[in-house]
């Protein structure tokens, strides 16, 4: 009888610890670490090195991560901002794109809500720049691809990474 009680107590304790553990593992408000999608998912798996993530860039809730190509000639900067609501997220997109591309051409992109792909040169003309921006719920995302002037990011790569990022955001929101 004593053994049975001890066994039941152990099982209950294990169940409580497991539930607490699962709760801790789930995304918490303000836990943005799982948001950025590593571009190596769609490359040869070793092409990019991630810099330490910047949490709440410019004082805005969210996360920013810079991925640099191993040859140093290309960077992918993913910024996901978390805003109070969807309207604020959509409104934030214009501000997020501002100043990144000079004399760029804009076209709709089938990613998230209000997806836009802006292609051109950096303001100083030293780099090609493509910026994909979109909203998803209360998040505003920009993914900036910067490379050599004659080596712009292929649009299929831009869209593929953008869609994976959109999926990751929706998964994060649902968790």
């Amino acid at each position: 009888m004593k053994n049975i009680r001890a066994m039941a107590g152990g099982i209950a304790a294990a169940a409580i610890m497991s539930m607490a553990g699962f709760g801790y593992a789930a995304a918490q408000p303000g836990d943005f670490s799982t948001l950025p999608v590593d571009p190596n998912l769609i490359t040869d798996s070793l092409a990019y090195n991630a810099a330490p993530a910047v949490y709440n860039p410019n004082g805005q809730a969210g996360i920013e991560t810079v991925y640099t190509h191993r040859d140093g000639s290309r960077t992918i900067t993913t910024t996901v901002l978390v805003l109070p609501d969807a309207q604020a997220a959509t409104a934030a997109l214009d501000g997020a794109r501002a100043g990144l591309v000079a004399n760029g051409t804009s076209q709709p992109a089938a990613v998230g809500s209000g997806g836009t792909m802006l292609t051109g040169m950096s303001p100083d003309g030293s780099k090609s720049v493509t910026v994909l921006s979109f909203a998803e719920g209360n998040t505003a995302t920009t993914i900036e691809f910067a490379g050599a002037p004659k080596d712009p990011a292929p649009s299929d790569l831009v869209l593929e990474l953008g869609r994976k990022q959109d999926t990751a955001i929706r998964d994060w929101q649902a968790s």
């Binding site: 190596n40 769609i42 490359t43 040869d44 798996s45 070793l46 092409a47 190509h69 191993r70 040859d71 290309r74 691809f145 490379g147 080596d151 990011a153 292929p154 790569l157």
Partner: protein
């Protein structure tokens, strides 16, 4: 006398024909106005399927593709 006349006529006729024929031939060969041209040979458009390096592609990329370390890392990229 009659035989001699006949022979003279025959010789004159034959020699006249030969002289005339040579003259005509000479005239034709020295004033040839024909224009000879090379016969046209119909050739279909030719496409050399070569990659950026002038070969048929490294790493199995195939024609028109180039193996390099690009946006997707090491992969085949269009020329």
């Amino acid at each position: 006398m009659r035989k001699f006349g006949m022979a003279l006529v025959i010789v004159a006729t034959m020699s006249g024909s030969v002289v005339t024929a040579q003259t005509a031939y000479a005239a034709q060969s020295s004033h040839d106005t024909n224009v000879y041209t090379q016969p046209a040979v119909s050739v279909a458009p030719k496409v050399d399927m070569l990659d950026c390096r002038g070969t048929t592609g490294d790493m199995g990329c195939g024609p028109g593709w180039f193996w390099r370390d690009g946006w997707r890392g090491w992969a085949c990229y269009p020329c």
